[in-house]
């Protein structure tokens, strides 16, 4: 969230190549490493191009930047990758929020529990990124996006499951493909902690669609070397683009 005054300050932010000194603490949980020396999230390459934006619909909770000739850029370096993850988690959180607010007809108890858990996890992921990026790079955080679901019928089990499967598989491929762009090892670990949960989700959804088959880890996503998909951000955004109502760019990654 950003105040109205803070928003207008953005117009005065000049593009810098300096490393942001703002840090937040990192807990490495169960890792046995000495974390004291590594308890910083350092950000570099923060860039912002937000000239000429129109503030629309500002309310107590958030605001949406509307394209006024310029579109929000996810940023450079690790900030860009974090915003990318945040964008995808926003999408998943939005989708599952819709699912749990109006479960499809004929939903089983097990499916209800699964979708409720997925809703919980994705909202937690989303809010985590919002807090993490907002704390470390408050002038560069992706705003709250709007989404759309063309062709998705939220009252139909097959439609919801198929969309969930696509979103989860996309999440896995996105994280797998973006890992190499992360420079801070603490961020990489955080991304790693999330991607395996997305893969657990994907397997469960696939198993709901085709129970007790090879689908959970199907040949459509796992290749002959036993490797799951890893996709470039450009390809992910192209594939998932139809869900994003609010446009954004990521020039560093050619988007």
């Amino acid at each position: 969230m950003i105040s109205r005054a803070g928003f207008f300050n953005l117009f005065e932010t000049e593009l810098k190549n300096n490393i942001m000194k703002k840090t937040i603490s990192v807990s490495n949980g169960a890792a046995t490493l000495d974390t004291n020396r590594r308890n910083f999230l350092k950000l570099s390459g923060v860039g912002l191009a937000l000239a000429g934006l129109t503030l629309v619909g500002c309310n107590d909770d958030d605001f949406t930047m509307i394209d006024n000739g310029n579109v929000f850029d996810l940023g450079t370096g690790d900030v860009g990758v974090l915003n990318y993850a945040y964008a995808l988690e926003q999408l998943e959180a939005d989708f599952y929020t819709k699912v749990v607010n109006n479960f499809y007809s004929g939903i089983s108890a097990e499916e209800k529990q699964i979708f409720t858990d997925l809703y919980h996890h994705e909202v937690i992921h989303r809010d985590f990124f919002k807090a993490a990026i907002g704390g470390a790079a408050p002038n560069s955080i992706l705003p709250t996006l709007e989404f759309q679901y063309p062709g998705v019928n939220f009252s139909d089990r097959n439609s919801v499951l198929a969309t969930a499967k696509a979103l989860e598989d996309t999440g896995v491929a996105a994280y797998n493909g973006a890992g190499k762009y992360i420079t801070n090892p603490d961020y990489l670990v955080l991304a790693g902690k999330i991607v395996s949960v997305e893969a657990r989700h994907a397997a469960a959804i696939r198993d709901l669609i085709s129970p007790r088959t090879a689908a959970f880890s199907g040949d459509d996503v796992i290749n002959a070397m036993g490797l799951d998909l890893a996709k470039e951000p450009k390809d992910i955004v192209a594939a998932a683009g139809s869900f994003f109502k609010t446009p954004f760019t990521w020039k560093e990654r050619g988007i």
Binding site: I24, S25, S27, G29, A30, A31, T32, L33, D34, R37, R38, Q113, D117, H120, H121, V123, I124, H125, D127, F128, A131, G135, Y175, N176, G179, K180, I182, T183, N184, P185, D186, L188, V189, L190, G192, K193, I194, V195, S196, V197, A199, R200, H201, A202, A203, D207, R212, T213, A214, F216, S217, G218, I222, A224, M225, G226, L227, D228, L229, A230
Partner: protein, 270 residues
């Protein structure tokens, strides 16, 4: 060489922080098979090439030096050897996996583990290092378990192995991030193990994800697999605030250090 001694180095903070501190300096990312990559590692680690490991003759005093990257791949290979052999044995054991559907599931898992062994061996070879030899496994843990004769036990250990694999790969991310191809491949294997874990857990009546530090109807001997999974703070963010500790802890899988992962694998190594 004793796998635990080899892999103890992965918990050696000196190696990890050395790895991390040079990350700021690394700008040229190396590809598979470029031996020059090893030579470009500062702090003198590059001159310390891993030598072929002969399990029968190497003692702890032997000078076997490798980079954290190589050690990480050898650990991964060890875990994949374990899973590969486990599932082959299980599928081959007459009368163990009798449900046709379950055989389909485990055949798919087995296919992947076999592929992972091959992939990691070729990765190590292309990096100029001999892959560690396959250890001798005892999946009964000196008679404590009977996975090849009792299907519920087979499922239980399968869940333990897969959940361990997810955490072990995650724990090595920092050690492999210097080589972007290795990192990406490691991530691509890591998510497959997570899919496996989810499926096996669900076959056992558990959720596909781990809530708190509970494995879900698992014997105490597997406690180490789930220790630390219950954390509800991530980078200062309280993940339990919104929906409780179960959801907050399940939304993130935790790392296992190299030595912790090796210790778990070591239970099953003769």
């Amino acid at each position: 060489m004793n796998i635990l001694k080899l892999l103890d180095r992965l918990s050696d903070d000196k190696f990890f922080t050395a790895e991390a501190s040079r990350l700021d300096a690394i700008t040229n990312i190396t590809n598979f098979g470029k031996k020059a990559a090893v030579a470009s590692i500062p702090l003198g680690l590059g001159v310390l090439m891993a030598t072929p490991v002969k399990a029968e003759t190497t003692t702890s005093s032997s000078a076997v030096f490798a980079t954290p990257l190589i050690d990480a791949l050898q650990l991964a290979l060890t875990l994949e050897y374990l899973e590969d052999e486990y599932y082959r044995m299980g599928l081959a054991k007459s009368g163990l996996i009798t449900s046709a559907a379950d055989r389909v599931v485990f055949s798919q898992i087995s296919k992947h583990e076999t592929a992972h062994v091959a992939f990691l061996k070729s990765a190590l070879t292309s990096l100029g290092t001999a892959p560690i030899a396959k250890p001798t496994f005892d999946f009964t843990v000196k008679g404590a378990f009977d996975p090849m004769n009792d299907y519920p036990t087979f499922l239980t250990l399968a869940q333990a192995f897969e959940d361990t694999g997810v955490r072990a790969y995650k724990g090595q991310a920092g050690n492999v991030m210097s080589n972007k191809d290795v990192l990406t491949a490691a991530l691509q294997i890591h998510s497959v193990e997570a899919r496996h874990a989810s499926e096996v857990r669900r076959m056992r009546g558990n959720k596909g994800w781990i809530e708190l530090a509970v494995g879900g109807n698992m014997p105490p001997a597997t406690n180490a697999v789930y220790a630390g999974e219950g954390v509800t703070v991530q980078a200062g963010f309280n993940t339990a605030t919104l929906f409780g500790a179960e959801a907050g802890s399940a939304a993130y899988d935790e790392v296992l250090s190299g030595s912790d992962a090796a210790a778990i694998a070591g239970l099953f190594i003769v």
